[in-house]
């Protein structure tokens, strides 16, 4: 103990100020998550080990318990524990529920990627040939690193608050770069390549969008609730402040037309409307926004073939069951095969006639795979986990010290929730299918890292011991004109 004390005295002042703070709830929840994932891996591994016998139509005599790639799961669980310990050691009073919940979602994703054919994605790295499960593990570890770093290091929101227009400019630049230099994959221009690194900027863009909206809406909140413009029975805020709304609408339409990315456009516009409602509390804006959205959708449906294709597939996929409607129909069958309790991990149908029933199962349809193997009961648990993420975000928003942090926290959690809803509803043929990822579960580096940034920022925002927000600056041009005497 004396050695520890003298070591503490020898440390620089900044480290001496750090006091470890136990996080009992987080540890308890992480333990439950680890137990669940271990049993899941046991279920998957045993089924996969018996697969050769099962495929011949007979049932194996003995049970050989096995974990599915136990080393990968162990690495993941140790990484989760390491992030927890890092939070304990640095002693910040951040949220204790988010890490276990997101950890469980990521772990389910890892199990799913280990279960799918490993040849779906291969990467060779430093002479090692990595399959789908291992690549996903690497991305998950990087994502946990991002969560830990942001949750520990970010102690101020100035770098987000003060540079909101810079962030917006960076986001638009990123978008334009993708428009011009993006590589087309499956008819969608989403992927941007810098030398060996390829990524999907729209994932990062959603974070930037929330940061900008939080800055803009918190600064102009009172102006947006004023009703200075009257248009017949409709009362509108001062017209200059409606410009961002129109701009957002135009950007969303631009993404649909140029990138052909319906999912991102829908996500951005939905989050924008939700935040507008959070900031102003006025339903009329949301109604105007929805009307704009419907009008835009109707026009796009008339003008662009790819939009029309998506909607037609949604309305009746059975028109072309082996072509355009193939994925959607196979996903529906997968949910049907799953039934209430599912077929069990590893026991779903891997291939139909030698090819994958759903080609994009690891990115766009992980929910269909999970629905087949875990059933309705498992799916409801997963959707419940997303609800928990949203609830935590809204709680953090309600407890935030000022408008900027409140809108930022609400926006970050809603981005995750809305994205999960859009892709889940698309998989279930509730709305037209739009190709975006299921947060934390889908395969993909950009998606995992961007959602890790979201979780890291939420953790940082939830810290009650953090510095108070800076004093407000005079808001908006109109208010400065009114207060010209200063």
């Amino acid at each position: 103990m004396t050695a520890a004390a003298s070591a503490a005295r020898g440390l620089p002042a900044i480290l001496a100020a750090i006091r470890p703070r136990p996080r009992g709830r987080e540890l308890m929840l992480l333990g439950a998550v680890a137990a669940a994932l271990l049993v899941g891996s046991l279920s998957l591994g045993t089924t996969l080990a018996a697969r050769p016998v099962l495929d011949t139509g007979s049932v194996p005599e003995t049970v050989e318990p096995a974990l599915a790639d136990g080393r990968a799961l162990a690495t993941y669980l140790v990484a989760l524990l390491a992030v927890h310990l890092a939070f304990v050691v640095t002693g910040r009073r951040t949220d204790e529920v988010l890490l276990p919940v997101v950890g469980l979602l990521g772990g389910l994703g890892l199990l799913l990627m280990q279960r799918l054919p490993q040849g779906l994605v291969t990467q060779s790295f430093a002479g090692l040939e990595l399959g789908l499960g291992q690549v996903q593990l690497v991305w998950l570890l990087l994502a946990l690193g991002v969560v830990g770093t942001l949750g520990i290091v970010v102690r101020s929101d100035r770098w987000l608050r003060l540079y909101k227009y810079t962030w917006a400019a960076a986001g638009i630049a990123l978008l334009l770069l993708t428009f011009v230099f993006g590589r087309e994959v499956n008819g969608q221009r989403l992927t941007l390549e810098f030398g060996p690194v390829a990524g999907q900027p729209s994932e990062l863009l959603k974070v930037i969008l929330v940061v900008f909206l939080a800055g803009y809406l918190s600064e102009n909140r009172s102006l947006l609730t004023e009703e200075s413009t009257r248009l017949g029975p409709i009362r509108l805020p001062p017209l200059p402040y409606l410009a961002p709304m129109a701009a957002m609408w135009a950007i969303a339409l631009g993404i649909v037309v140029v990138q052909r990315d319906l999912g991102a456009a829908l996500l951005f516009f939905a989050v924008f409307l939700a935040l507008l409602y959070v900031a102003t509390g006025r339903l009329s804006y949301v109604l105007i926004g929805v009307a704009l959205f419907l009008a835009g959708s109707a026009i796009l449906y008339q003008l662009f073939g790819h939009v029309r294709d998506r909607v037609d597939i949604w309305l009746d996929p059975f028109v072309d069951p082996l072509g355009a409607g193939y994925q959607v129909i196979q996903a529906l069958y997968a949910f049907g095969r799953g039934g209430l309790l599912g077929t069990g991990l590893g026991a779903g149908l891997p291939t139909v006639g030698g090819r994958m029933p759903i080609p994009a199962i690891h990115t766009d349809f992980p929910l269909a795979a999970l629905g087949e193997e875990l059933g309705l009961v498992g799916l409801l648990a997963i959707l419940g986990l997303y609800l928990v993420v949203v609830e935590r975000g809204l709680r953090i928003a309600a407890a935030a010290a000022d408008d900027f942090r409140a809108i930022l926290a609400a926006g970050l959690s809603l981005v995750v929730g809305v994205q999960a809803f859009i892709i889940a509803a698309g998989n279930l043929k509730l709305i037209p299918l739009t190709g975006i990822t299921l947060p934390f579960i889908s395969y993909g580096g950009s998606s995992l890292l961007a959602n890790a940034v979201v979780v890291g920022l939420l953790l940082a925002l939830s810290d009650r011991g953090v510095e108070p927000p800076p004093p407000p600056r005079p808001a908006g041009r109109l208010r400065r004109l009114v207060g010209a005497g200063r």
């Binding site: 049970v63 309790l341 026991a347 000022d402 408008d403 005497g485």
Partner: protein, 144 residues
Amino acid sequence: MDGFVLTIWLVRIAFLVLLYLVLFAVVRVLLRDLRAAARDHVALGRLVVVASPAGEPPAGMSFDLDAVTTLGRDVNNTIVIDDPFASAEHASLTYRGRSWFVEDLGSTNGTYVNGAPIDGVSPIGFGDEIQVGEVRLRLDRGRP
């Protein structure tokens, strides 16, 4: 029933049960958190003194606010501002519906919000700064 099928089935169900156990543990934590938040009395807002040249009230002091708060030099005000440039009955802060409003009560030197003088009743938000005389006060959310 076959040993293999039964074992696999049990492991499968155990996995689903554990998923729900995690979910229930999480929901219990959330409920406890929400109940604790509901028990705590939260003031509608508070005023934090940002700058006070005359020293009364001292800078850094914080007042929990009721729905109606008056500010001024007179001792009968909710918050007494002993500043040479403040009027006896200077300004009032009221909470109506779901937001705060500030009104100048005909003071000699006027009331300012974020540096701009106000006339009549004007809405203010959390984080805004009110200036009465030479005393500047910031409206913050109430702390539990």
